[in-house]
C-alpha cells in the first residue's frame, strides 16, 4: 500500500512500512471508535423539549470507566508498538550486518559528496571514485556508509530505502542498506540546513553487478592523477 506511493526497495523498507501500518491501524481503530462514541453521545443527548441539562462531574466509577479503560488500552498498545519498533530499530540502526562494501557520504551546504571504494573495493586507496550528488551502488550487496558533515546538521534520506540518518559535524556515523532492485532514485536532505536545504537533492543509482563493474572501471582515476585523500580544507572565506 505505502509502496504504491514510494517504492520499497531495501531489505528493511518492508519492516518499516509494517511498523507504520501497525501504528496506523491501532491509532485508526481508536480514532474511529472515539469519534463514534463522541458523535453518538452528542446525538443521543441532543436538547429535547422538557428535559433539563445536567452537570456530570464524572467521579462515579461507572463514569470514570470511560476514561480509565481507554487509558489502560492506550498504554498496552503503546508497549506493543514500542516492542515492535525497537526490534526494527535494532535491525536497521544498531545491528550492522557484515558489509560487502563501504561508501563515504559527505554532506555540506548544499551538496552530497560520495566516495566509492572503486575497483579494489577499499576506501582510501588511489582508485577511489569521488562524485557529487550521485551515489552508485550495486543491487543485493550490503553497504555500510560512513556519514559525515563538513558544516552543519544534515540528514541523509533515501525514501525508497526508508532510510534516514542525521549527519553531525565532527562525527562519523555508520549505517547500512541493501538494495533489492536496480534503478535511479532520490536522495534528499531531511534536516533544515540553511537556505539551500530544499535544493540539495542527489540521486542513488542502483546497478546490476555487470553495470557496476563497468561504472567502476570507467570512472576509477588512473593511479597517477588520483586525487589526494586528505580531507579538503576551506579555501574561501576569511583566512
Amino acid at each position: 500500500m505505502i509502496d504504491q506511493y514510494v517504492e520499497s526497495i531495501s531489505t528493511f523498507s518492508g519492516d518499516i512500512d509494517n511498523v507504520i501500518w501497525v501504528v496506523f491501524l491501532i491509532v485508526g481503530f481508536w480514532f474511529v471508535l472515539a469519534e463514534l462514541v463522541f458523535f453518538g453521545l452528542i446525538f443521543k443527548f441532543l436538547a429535547k423539549p422538557g428535559v433539563k441539562a445536567k452537570y456530570v462531574s464524572g467521579e462515579r466509577p461507572e463514569e470514570k470507566r470511560w476514561v480509565t479503560l481507554p487509558h489502560y488500552a492506550t498504554l498496552a498498545f503503546d508497549v506493543a508498538i514500542i516492542v515492535l519498533a525497537i526490534k526494527v530499530w535494532h535491525d536497521v540502526k544498531i545491528d550492522l550486518p557484515k558489509a560487502d562494501s563501504t561508501v563515504r557520504v559527505i554532506s555540506q551546504q548544499w551538496a552530497w559528496t560520495f566516495v566509492h571504494p572503486g575497483p579494489d573495493n577499499q576506501l582510501d586507496t588511489p582508485d577511489d571514485i569521488t562524485t557529487v550528488d550521485e551515489l552508485h551502488v550495486e543491487k543485493d550487496k550490503t553497504y555500510h556508509f560512513e556519514l559525515t558533515s563538513r558544516d552543519v546538521l544534515h540528514s541523509f534520506s533515501v525514501p525508497v530505502f526508508r532510510l534516514k540518518q542525521d549527519a553531525i559535524p565532527g562525527r562519523i556515523i555508520k549505517g547500512w542498506f541493501k538494495a533489492t532492485q536496480t534503478g535511479q532514485y532520490d536522495i534528499q536532505c531531511t534536516e533544515i540546513c540553511g537556505i539551500g536545504h530544499g535544493i540539495m537533492p542527489a540521486r542513488i543509482i542502483i546497478e546490476s553487478p555487470a553495470q557496476h563493474r563497468t561504472w567502476n572501471q570507467s570512472n576509477a582515476p588512473k593511479v597517477a592523477d588520483a586525487a589526494p585523500t586528505t580531507p579538503p580544507t576551506q579555501l574561501g572565506g576569511m583566512p
Partner: protein, 212 residues
C-alpha cells in the same frame, strides 16, 4: 450552522484553485525580485560576505555574471568535490527558472553600484606583485578593470581573500578544469605560473591598489 459549513466549503474550493497555475500565468520575475534569493549571502548591495565566502559581485559586467551563472547551473563551475564554496553557490544558481531569468538577475547585479572591498589578507607585497601583474594585464586590463574581448572579469575592488582562493582553485584544478570550461582553461595556466601562495598574495596585493 449551515452558513458556517457553506462558507468553509467555499473556502476549500477556492483554496484548491490556488494550486493550479494556467500556462499563460507563467512570467519571468524581474531582476530585483530574483535578487532577493541572492541578497542573504551577497548582500542587498552585492558587496559580498566574507563569513560565508560570498564574493563582491556589485557592478560586475552582466556578461560575466551570466556566464558564471550558466557555468554553475550546468555543472562546469562549482562541481568539484573539493570546491566547498562553489558547491554552495551551485544550487543558488539553479533557482532561476530559465535563461530569461538568468539574464534578468545578471543585469540587476551589474546595475548595482560597484564598491571596493576592504583588504584583509596579510603579508602581500604589492611592489613585488606589480611585476607578476604584467602577465595578467593582457586579459584583465592595466587597472584590473576587466575586458569584454578576453572574457576576463574585473578584479579591481574584489575581496583579496576571494582572489587568492580562486587562484588556488584554478591552480589546483578545482575551477576551470572542466572540459567545457573554455574561459576557465585560459585562466588555469596563468594561476599555475604563480609559484606559491606568497606569489598569489603579492599579485593580489597589487590588484588591491587599483581603484574601482
Amino acid at each position: 450552522m449551515h452558513r458556517l459549513m457553506s462558507v468553509s466549503l467555499a473556502f476549500a474550493i477556492v483554496a484548491s484553485f490556488g494550486c493550479i497555475r494556467p500556462e499563460g500565468a507563467k512570467k519571468t520575475l524581474a531582476g530585483s525580485e530574483l535578487y532577493a534569493a541572492c541578497a542573504s549571502c551577497h548582500g542587498e548591495a552585492g558587496a559580498g560576505n566574507a563569513s560565508i565566502a560570498a564574493p563582491n559581485i556589485a557592478g560586475l559586467p552582466a556578461w560575466y555574471v551570466e556566464a558564471q551563472l550558466v557555468k554553475y547551473r550546468s555543472g562546469i563551475r562549482g562541481y568539484h568535490p573539493e570546491d566547498i564554496e562553489g558547491l554552495r553557490m551551485r544550487p543558488m544558481s539553479r533557482q532561476m527558472m530559465d535563461e530569461a531569468e538568468v539574464k534578468a538577475v545578471a543585469a540587476y547585479v551589474s546595475s548595482l553600484k560597484a564598491v571596493k572591498a576592504a583588504p584583509s589578507v596579510q603579508g602581500g607585497d604589492a611592489t613585488a606583485g606589480a611585476g607578476q601583474y604584467a602577465t595578467c594585464q593582457a586579459c584583465h586590463g592595466d587597472k584590473g578593470q576587466g575586458m569584454d574581448a578576453t572574457k576576463a572579469p574585473p578584479l579591481a575592488g574584489q575581496y583579496d581573500w576571494y582572489l587568492v582562493s580562486q587562484l588556488k582553485k584554478f591552480k589546483g584544478g578545482v575551477r576551470g578544469a572542466h572540459p567545457l570550461d573554455t574561459t576557465g582553461a585560459q585562466m588555469r595556466p596563468m594561476a599555475s605560473m604563480l609559484a606559491d601562495e606568497q606569489a598569489m598574495k603579492n599579485v593580489v596585493a597589487h590588484i588591491g591598489t587599483f581603484s574601482r
